[in-house]
């Protein structure tokens, strides 16, 4: 799963994915806890690719925070920064204190169970050699 602000490259990296990859969505992702970790689900929302997400799910191996740059590389990031970055990318509008607390706890638990890394990539398909 890839995360980042608008313009970070979510649609770009989706477009560069191998032809046999199943795209769950290039818009809002849906993530659920499973017995062994987390599953990412396709959603019926279309981003810039104008393609609806696939109606299926897959175990979540890692979350990559996207950044475009001159070379492809993966960097480990500090867990607290990962939590903060994840919170910035969760779609959440409520002002209710209990719900905010719940989202915070959810992000905290997620970061402990799923590797969160910074992915810097060039705009070509070579980035996928790092990922698969």
């Amino acid at each position: 799963m890839f995360a980042g602000a608008s313009g970070a490259g979510k649609t770009t990296i989706s477009r560069l994915a191998p032809a046999d990859a199943t795209l769950l969505t290039d818009e809002i992702s849906y993530v659920r806890k499973s017995a062994t970790g987390y599953d990412a689900h396709g959603t019926p929302f279309a981003g810039e690719l104008a393609r609806l997400g696939a109606h299926c799910s897959a175990p979540l191996a890692a979350l990559y925070l996207l950044r475009q740059g001159p070379e492809n590389k993966i960097d480990e990031i500090d867990p607290a920064l990962a939590t903060q970055a994840l919170l910035r990318n969760i779609l959440f509008f409520a002002r209710d204190a209990a719900l905010v607390q719940s989202v915070f706890e959810g992000a905290y638990e997620f970061v402990q169970r799923v590797p969160v890394r910074q992915l810097t990539f060039r705009k070509d398909a070579s980035v996928w050699e790092l990922l698969v």
Binding site: D78, A80, L87, A97, V100, F104
Partner: protein
């Protein structure tokens, strides 16, 4: 010198991860990551122990920092957290709210 007392707000969520304390305001979702020194002050913010005592007892002793320097940094730190409502500051001890008493 007037004593300063500090207490953690109840309107926050906080967790320790990899030695750092993450604190988020549940009111405006402001997020702070506290380093080891800041975490020490945060943990000791019981509303009863004056800030200068916390700094002298926990910060200077543990991190070998001069008291004046440590206290100036601590005052700046608590002012910043207070501005976001995640830490209360007072010149008097901050006592927890009394439990409600049921009246039949």
């Amino acid at each position: 010198m007037t004593a300063t007392y500090i207490a953690r707000s109840s309107a926050i969520a906080s967790r320790v991860l990899a030695g750092e304390t993450m604190v988020m305001s549940v009111l405006d979702s402001t997020f702070f990551t506290l380093n080891e020194v800041a975490s020490t002050i945060w943990r000791a913010a019981d509303g009863i122990t004056p800030l200068h005592e916390i700094v002298a007892r926990d910060v200077c002793h543990e991190f070998e920092v001069p008291i004046d320097e440590a206290l100036a940094d601590a005052r700046e730190f608590v002012r910043e957290l207070s501005a976001h409502g995640i830490l209360q500051i007072s010149d008097r001890p901050i006592l927890p709210p009394a439990p409600a008493i049921g009246i039949p």
